[in-house]
């Protein structure tokens, strides 16, 4: 009798060990695999783009192209009207799919603006509206693929592409205004 209780107690203990071992193994495995994914992402996606951006910035800073660009960009990016103009330009239905791919244009323009923020040419509170002004074209190149990923019918794609493009003409400038209002109190010196 005592042997059976001992063995069932043993069995319970074993079960506990197995459960603990499994869950710890699961957590460690998930973390390890995530680390592998993270490093993979950095090497495949992030470092190449950093290299590209560095070449661009290096040339811009060294050649003095930056000062010339600053004269061009600052009057636009330093006030609401200019930012609205940028956002409307980027949202023009024919241009937005061209400007979209890989968000390369938005990333390069963002980096150029960053240089101007760093030099103090543009007041820092314009960072928030600028983030929206340079990006009303986001995903405009990808609408048919994105809709296909959502298992949309071809008829939906036919209507959806122009619908999104036209919507951006309204929501692009609108997002800049919202961001501009939301930027009150951001980095303000009193």
């Amino acid at each position: 009798m005592s042997s059976t209780t001992a063995s069932s107690g043993m069995g319970g203990f074993n079960k506990l060990l197995v459960t603990v071992g499994k869950s710890v193994g699961g957590v460690v495995g998930a973390l390890y695999q995530s680390g592998r994914d993270a490093v993979d992402t950095v090497i495949r996606n992030i470092l190449p783009f950093m290299a590209f951006i560095s070449v661009l910035i290096g040339i811009i800073l060294k050649t003095g192209l930056g000062d010339w660009l600053a004269h061009l960009i600052t009057p636009l990016a330093g006030n609401l009207v200019g930012l609205l103009a940028i956002s409307i330009f980027c949202a023009i239905p024919v241009l937005s799919p061209v400007l979209g791919p890989g968000a390369v244009i938005a990333q390069v323009v963002g980096t150029l603006l960053g240089l101007n923020f760093a030099k103090g040419d543009i007041a820092p509170q314009y960072a928030l509206p600028a983030l929206f002004a340079i990006n009303p074209q986001v995903g405009c190149d990808f609408i048919p693929v994105g809709l296909a990923l959502g298992e949309a019918e071809p008829e939906t794609v036919e209507v959806g592409v122009p619908a999104v493009l036209i919507s951006r003409l309204i929501t692009g400038p609108l997002s800049v205004v919202i961001a501009w209002v939301a930027s009150f109190g951001l980095y303000s010196s009193n």
């Binding site: 994914d37 910035i57 060294k62 963002g110 983030l131 986001v138 990923l149 997002s175």
Partner: protein, 207 residues
């Protein structure tokens, strides 16, 4: 003692200012220095980006990826079914909660697959809403779109150089992004509905 001679030569050279090389080879040398300077400048930028951004990014990516792996991204499928319901109270679910969670858990571009739970007439608006969130989220959660970080990072890096904190900007970008995608979803849904109506009347007229 050729070695001491060499050292003496270096000291001597350092004490005296050397004339700039002139003539054809001088021009070549200046050109070469300028050429290398371009890339030295770029190398400096690359170093600051890698040292300043990559270590934190790797740790953050690992933690968030592990979290998503443990929670299981399939949990948000139920939310997709809820978002398909008509009625005004489901707008925030369809164009705010669902896109935000899809982008967070499924990341770009798999987030758009959540559109499969929605009726056809909502799909373009949902795509518009979800795709518009893949940049605002990167301020705090870069795992969602690691290939396109510089929309935010480019500007943020400039702000950082001024010695200002980024927390305020990142949080505001995240929150304003939410307001924008909700509005974008609603407006695109209205436009889609009008275009579908126009299309069906045209088809009727043709028939």
């Amino acid at each position: 003692m050729p070695f001491t001679h060499l050292v003496a030569g270096i000291v001597f050279a350092a004490g005296e200012t050397v004339d700039k090389p002139t003539g054809f080879f001088g021009a070549l040398a200046t050109g070469a220095e300028w050429f290398i300077g371009l890339f030295n400048e770029g190398g400096g930028v690359f170093k600051s980006l890698v040292i300043g951004i990559v270590p934190t990014l790797i740790v953050l990516l690992t933690a968030v990826n592990a979290l998503i792996r443990m929670i299981g991204p399939e949990k948000i499928d139920k939310l997709g079914e809820m978002a398909a319901r008509p009625g005004i109270q489901w707008y925030p679910v369809r164009y705010l909660v669902l896109p935000v969670l899809s982008v967070f858990f499924l990341t770009n571009p798999m987030a758009y697959t959540m559109g499969r739970f929605l009726p056809e007439r909502y799909k373009p608006a949902f795509y518009d809403s979800a795709v518009s969130y893949v940049h605002p989220i990167t301020g705090i959660f870069p795992h969602a779109n690691p290939g396109e970080l510089f929309v935010y990072l480019g500007i943020a890096h400039g702000i950082q150089k001024l010695g200002l904190g980024l927390g305020d900007l990142a949080v505001r970008y995240l929150l304003v992004g939410m307001v924008v995608i909700l509005l974008r979803g609603i407006i695109t849904e209205l436009i889609t509905a009008r275009m579908l109506a126009k299309r069906s009347t045209q088809e009727e007229a043709a028939a």
